[in-house]
Subunit: 344 residues, 2 copies
């Protein structure tokens, strides 16, 4: 019997580990032939909803890459579908929301639903993954942070300047507050259902928080991310991940989380000092580095490990998701480099 | 006769001023009806090349807005056209480079040209603007920083992940070095010709530097931005502007410049402390703020002025260019708020 790998969980809790654990955001994704093959047969939402397939997609990279954690195959926008906003994963253009939310009336018109019932396919997948993983590595559940979810709802899809989102909190702060409270409430329930089904750690993705001024993050975002984190089942480590927030890290830290996830635009040692050594840190290799030669990848892994130093509580990861064209053998080289260079 | 307004120049030199000077990036742009009217008649490149029109476009917002500086109407990519890469300003999609530079061979194939002769239409515009302005306010010349220019050349247009750009410095650092040296050399000449024609301050735009890790900025970008800044005609203040570099500000500072330009993702007081009080600082209102009500704009102007404090050397600006749909009366309200609230 394989001994359960608890290195990742220990690092989340800032306990000493024999090496630095590593996983990759989007490690179950388009860069893997196994995944592309399934995507040729099924739509994206279909893959999320067929729990057998979602489980298979989740587990495959754990075996292929030798990473120290699995992350549920799902999407941060799944939670928006039952709200009746017309979510569609259109080909090439990314997700679209056909009925964007731009006013207090729109906020109040969002359909109420019970995350426990309407997203049961996610928890089914979590159960199947937990069974398949046989405790080899821990399973990470996840959700979008209220701000990133709100931005999608308001902009109706991807955005360059987030004009509609910011306009809502500038001009209708009450509507903003209601929307964020609603999203925080549903998100917390959704995460706790994932935990009840078997997720051992959860990550909150605030991928778009980097468009904000530090003050706007503090006033309009922080309280709602904090509400989610505070509502997570006690004892389950939370990873609070944002991008583009090098100037707001103290506020990100104040929102909570046992682990602060960094992107690559900041030096890990400086960021850890800023957020404080009473939290663990995750990151922060530039995802584009995986296009470089394995030797160069190894040099860059070494630099990040050097910055992390001997202090317990570093989880190696990319600074954002693996890019679709990253060569799988380079990803494996990265994982091996982390394990080899961090062995204590 | 109107007394020359030298408040902006004094602030660049960190001298005491009677109020905080203000101008806006892209103040001569699409948000103004006068500009849109001209754009209906002329192509973008045509407007840049017809020096009478470029001069008119430059001067109009100075009068309409009451700002303390004029900035040349031009584009950072003009310098790439004589290199023979097939620059085109396509409608809607932004600029396209039909023959992107992706190898050492491509770098060596870039056409040599003399910035003094081939870009003479820019200097003609500068001369006409200087005459029209009658010294009412100083004129800012500008250029793209080598990195942002290189990224356009390599990616062939806008980019999300800058994969080709980073691949070039990962895998062909010699070719990268040659490209950056070439761009730095041409850019310095181009800026000095603008200065010879009448520009009193120059700004270097490194709008894409925020995609880099701090180490990559330091190794692959900083030396070349520094080369440009060191080659600028002595005595002419240089504004070193980047975006998304909150985690790299010390390196940005090390590249040089009398004024460090900030985007809105960082608190101005913290950023000024990081770069040091021996440089002036420019910024940093979120451009989207101009969509808020004038009262809210004023509150946010007040917050930035409070962070700047009484220390000389603050130039008020947005954190990036004015957005195309910003209401002109809100822009005027912002300028008035800066003048009113900073009066000493």
């Amino acid at each position: 019997m394989i001994k359960p790998n608890d290195v990742f969980l220990a690092a989340c809790r800032r306990q000493q580990t024999s090496y630095t654990p590593v996983w990759l955001m989007r490690q179950a994704g388009r860069y893997m032939e196994e995944y592309r093959k399934l995507r040729r047969q099924y739509g994206f939402l279909e893959l999320c909803k067929k729990s057998d397939l979602a489980a298979e997609i989740t587990v495959t990279p754990v075996e292929r890459l030798g990473v120290d954690a699995a992350i549920l195959f799902a999407d941060i926008l799944l939670i928006l579908e039952p709200m009746g906003v017309g979510l569609e994963y259109s080909k090439g253009d990314g997700p679209v929301i056909h009925h964007p939310v731009r006013s207090g009336k729109d906020v109040d018109g969002l359909k109420e639903f019970d995350p426990e019932n309407e997203l049961s396919f996610v928890y089914e997948a979590v159960k199947k993954i937990s069974k398949t993983l046989e405790n080899k590595v821990p399973l990470i559940g996840f959700a979008g942070a209220p701000f990133t979810l709100a931005s999608y709802l308001i902009e109706g899809g991807g955005s360059r300047n987030y004009v509609h989102t910011k306009k809502l909190f500038y001009t209708a702060p009450d509507a903003w507050q209601r929307l964020m409270e609603r999203l925080a409430r549903d998100t917390a329930k959704y995460l706790n259902c994932q935990i009840a089904a078997g997720a051992e750690v959860v990550q909150i993705f605030d991928s778009w928080a980097g468009c904000l001024t530090p003050s706007d993050y503090e006033q309009f975002v922080l309280p709602h991310t904090r509400a989610v984190i505070e509502a997570v089942t006690p004892g389950v480590p939370v990873i609070n991940f944002t991008t583009g927030t090098a100037g707001s890290l103290k506020h990100v830290r104040a929102a909570g989380g046992d682990v602060i996830g960094l992107d690559w635009r900041v030096n890990l040692d400086e960021a850890w000092e800023t957020v404080g050594y009473d939290v663990a840190i995750q990151g922060n290799l530039d995802p584009v580095t995986l296009y470089a030669a394995p030797k160069e990848i190894k040099n860059r892994v070494a630099d990040i490990l050097r910055r992390a130093g001997a202090r317990p509580g570093h989880i190696f990861n990319l600074g954002h998701g693996v890019l679709p064209e990253a060569p799988v053998d380079h990803v494996i080289a990265m994982v091996e480099a982390v394990h080899e260079l961090s062995a204590r």
